[in-house]
């Protein structure tokens, strides 16, 4: 068995080709292999996935991983398969009945099954799971359990129940963005005796900077200047698809030697796949994207992450800059701010939470498909969950409505506050690194390179030359075919 020190490392090498564990990994792995329910935090890009993948592969039975985003789940399955780990599958609502059945009937044969929280509660899924030996239950992005987390998912609250019904297998909850309050909330909800392994979330290899600009055109110009000095894999985040496409085209025109493209949720699936792969394989230098691109992206050598618009919370900012420097080397995160930029996220929260009228009418609408069309997905999810909950507690519809209204107001206030915190971070004149992570921890490791623009860094003087790779694209079709089929 893989109990001793050496053999864990050996297994890491065999399955993933890494010779040593990164900080925290081994401690977390040992903890769950001993059967402790564990809550663990590690920074973005530090390798949380290995913490359940390795034990899953080494143990008997199926490891179920609950993951909030379908795209993230699908990506992880693809990546594992591409590493030769084939006994993995996903279960989510986008699959048709036949595909789900295919997975469910062969459930025992899988080592890791990624599952969306809503799928887990389905009677026929749960029953199948009950019939298997569940090795571990993993809750990825566990901050989604907490109402105070930036991405509360009501469905995550049902995990407790599912865990019970599965006979309480060893549970691992993981997050890179959980404040102490959120951590406490996670433990409270799961109501388990949890071993806590809390590592600070600061990323020592990221240098932070903000540039204040007066108008949109100045932002674009700042971008151009920056990119003419820095020739490294770059990601630029936008909140608007339209601006994302526009700026992408503009940059491509400005830099004919670089290849620039864009990625957002409004594109055809096939195109998204191509663009993502091009970026992964360094065929693209710069990718302009919306948050739809973030989560699953695990490219080692992104050196520069730029925000053209402001994200709605500190946590989403941490997530998004977390795409940079996953190889551990130095990287830079820059945010471009124009006065009034915060109005966009303020508008967006309006779309996320229901209006009074929507709350009042929700319980009286019979036709649920009609409702789904009328309300945004987040609103619909929020209302369904809330009414279910209050009714279960024996509240009348009228009482539930007023409860939900005040809850909505509370959530609204939380969201407004987090935008304000984000803006304060932008406007601060003290160390950005300290301020970014102060809600999560007390101590900081010293930065690998520069700290931030308030301490020691000047983005305008920064200059990154990386040798240009050949574009492969300058060939003609015959050469291209010969290379493709290894007939040079």
């Amino acid at each position: 068995m893989y109990k001793t020190k050496d053999t864990l490392e050996e297994a890491l090498n065999i399955y993933f080709g890494f010779s040593t564990f990164r900080q925290g990994q081994k401690e977390i792995i040992s903890s769950i292999m001993k059967g402790n329910h564990t809550l663990a935090t590690l920074p973005t890009g530090s390798g949380k996935s290995i913490c359940y993948q390795l034990p899953a592969l080494l143990g008997e039975g199926v490891t179920v991983v609950i993951s909030p985003l379908i795209s993230l789940m699908v990506d992880q399955v693809k990546i594992l398969k591409s590493k030769g780990i084939k006994r993995v599958a996903a279960l989510n609502s986008l699959m048709n009945h036949q595909q789900k059945q295919q997975v469910l009937t062969h459930l025992q044969q899988y080592k890791i099954v990624f599952c969306s929280p809503e799928m887990m509660q389905q009677e026929f899924v749960l029953n199948k799971l009950k019939g298997c030996h569940i090795n571990y239950l993993v809750v990825d992005e566990a901050h989604c359990i907490s109402q105070w987390g930036h991405e509360f998912r009501p469905d995550y609250l049902k995990i407790k129940q599912v865990h019970n019904q599965l006979g309480e297998p060893t549970l691992l909850a993981l997050s890179a963005t959980a404040t102490p309050e959120v951590q406490a909330d996670i433990v409270k909800h799961l109501n388990l005796d949890m071993h806590k392994i809390i590592y600070p979330m600061d990323r020592e290899n990221i240098t932070f900077a903000v540039k204040h600009l007066d108008i949109h055109e100045d932002k674009v110009e700042a971008l151009e200047n920056l990119l003419s000095n820095n020739h490294v894999p770059t990601m630029i985040y936008f909140s608007s698809r339209k601006v994302c496409e526009e700026v992408s085209r503009l940059l491509q025109g400005k830099f004919p030697d670089k290849s620039v493209s864009y990625y957002h949720g409004g594109m055809e699936q096939e195109d998204r796949l191509l663009i993502q792969q091009q970026f992964m394989y360094d065929q693209l230098d710069i990718i302009c994207c919306t948050s739809a691109f973030g989560m699953g992206v695990d490219k080692p050598n992104i050196r520069l992450v730029i925000h053209f618009h402001i994200p709605p919370t500190i946590e989403s900012y941490i997530q998004e800059v977390g795409r940079a420097g996953r190889d551990g080397y130095h990287c830079v995160a820059l945010l471009l701010y124009q006065k009034g930029d915060e109005s966009l996220p303020f508008q967006l929260i309006g779309n996320e939470l229901p209006e009074d009228e929507e709350i009042e009418q929700f319980p009286f609408q019979e036709d649920s498909s009609y409702l789904k069309e009328l309300l945004s997905e987040t609103k619909h999810r929020f209302l369904t969950f809330q009414f279910d909950q209050w009714h279960q507690l024996g509240f009348t519809t009228d009482d539930a409505i007023s409860k939900i209204k005040s809850l909505r107001d509370e959530r609204l206030a939380v969201k407004r506050n987090s935008i304000i915190t984000m803006v304060n971070w932008i406007k601060t004149d003290s160390c950005r690194r300290k301020m970014l992570y102060q809600g999560f921890q007390d101590s900081f490791s010293s930065p690998l390179s520069f700290c931030c623009d308030q301490c020691d860094f000047d983005i305008d003087q920064w200059n990154w030359k990386e040798e240009k790779r050949s574009k492969g694209i300058e060939l003609n079709w015959e050469e291209r075919l010969r290379i493709l089929f290894n007939r040079r």
Partner: protein
């Protein structure tokens, strides 16, 4: 403008006869018997279903643009090309020499294209001895088919040289521009395929033109593989051989009832469908199956009468034709006759053959 011109060209086939939208449905390959019959009637079959992802808004923009430039005039449901519109079409255009065969290939071209892309990617990685990679095509069925195919190749060939040879041979049928274009859509070691937007930028053409050109290349490949399967022992296997699969599912059911000798009333009754639906099926069958006799629905005399009416009004507009005929003649009968041009002689021959 290049895409607009193409639409203008298609529109010229149906002016006075159909609404501008009919071309939109035709390009999308709308699965209605009317659209299928129209494609046949107006000699638009090559273009049927060659642009299934065309957006309504895009199409409406083109129409508006053509109207603004005074190349077409629309009044109520009718439209006409203007003189300058007609003159514009007299020149040679990017699409003049391009090949499509939408009628035959529109149901299989997408899956063939995906299988070819995945086969090339897999062969590429295996040629470099990399057995793990992220497949560029996600569909489970396509993946399984290609996997099987690759297995067969590996069982009987030493390496993937024969595949390269066949791919090379296919490419040699194309113009240089086409070969460049298609080679850039391939994914494998050292290269990830470009999206249509990226190709559009690179070739400085509209994304619609690029998509239509790629579609034309795929149709050329299909034709080559279907006509010369022996020259492409491996790649020809990627072509779906559903020749007798051209009818829609529900239409096939209707055809089976007809073969059992049921009339329309009986079929309507036993399938519980609307009469107009069953009639649509019969018309679809008549359009696609040249051996199908319409005699059960239209007598020889009536057919001649309808043909005369068509000649008289010099139009394929149903309303106009009907106004020339006695009340008792139905739209269904007119559409059936329209579905079989020059049918009198053909029918006789076919009836002889059927015995």
């Amino acid at each position: 403008m290049n895409f607009d011109l193409f639409i203008l060209y298609l529109l010229s086939h149906v002016e006075n006869e159909r609404t501008p939208n009919s071309i939109f449905y035709m390009l999308r390959g709308k699965k209605s018997s009317q659209a299928i019959q129209d494609a046949y009637l107006f000699k638009l079959s090559p273009y049927f279903g060659i642009y299934p992802s065309l957006h309504k808004a895009t199409y409406e923009n083109v129409i508006r643009e053509l109207e603004n430039k005074k190349l077409i005039v629309i009044d109520s449901s009718q439209f006409n090309l203007t003189k300058s519109g007609r003159e514009l079409l007299n020149q040679k255009h990017w699409f003049s020499s391009l090949f499509w065969n939408g009628q035959e290939y529109h149901q299989m071209d997408q899956s063939f294209h995906q299988k070819l892309l995945l086969l090339c990617q897999t062969a590429s990685h295996l040629s470099y001895r990399q057995s793990n990679f992220i497949p560029i095509i996600e569909g489970f069925i396509i993946q399984q088919e290609v996997r099987k195919h690759i297995q067969q190749i590996r069982n009987s060939e030493e390496d993937f040289k024969p595949i390269l040879k066949e791919v090379y041979q296919l490419f040699s049928q194309l113009t240089t521009e086409e070969a460049e274009l298609y080679s850039l859509t391939l994914t494998g070691v050292g290269q990830v395929g470009l999206s249509s937007e990226q190709l559009a930028e690179r070739f400085d053409q509209s994304v619609h033109v690029i998509r239509l050109k790629v579609k034309s290349i795929i149709h050329q490949f299909l034709q080559e593989l279907i006509n010369h399967p022996n020259s492409y022992p491996w790649l020809s296997q990627l072509v779906d051989d559903n020749e007798n699969d051209k009818l829609m599912k529900s239409t096939k059911v209707t055809l089976n009832y007809i073969k059992k000798g049921m009339n329309i009333e009986q079929i309507v009754h036993s399938r519980g469908l609307k009469r107009s639906t069953i009639e649509d099926h019969v018309i679809e069958i008549a359009t696609k199956d040249r051996t199908f006799s319409i005699r059960d629905y239209v007598s020889l005399e009536l057919e001649e009468m309808i043909n005369q009416a068509i000649d008289q009004v010099k139009s394929k507009r149903l309303k106009k034709i009907k106004s020339q005929l006695p009340e008792s003649v139905s739209y269904f009968q007119i559409r059936l006759v329209l579905a079989k041009p020059n049918n009198i002689i053909e029918d006789k021959e076919i009836e002889d053959l059927n015995v």
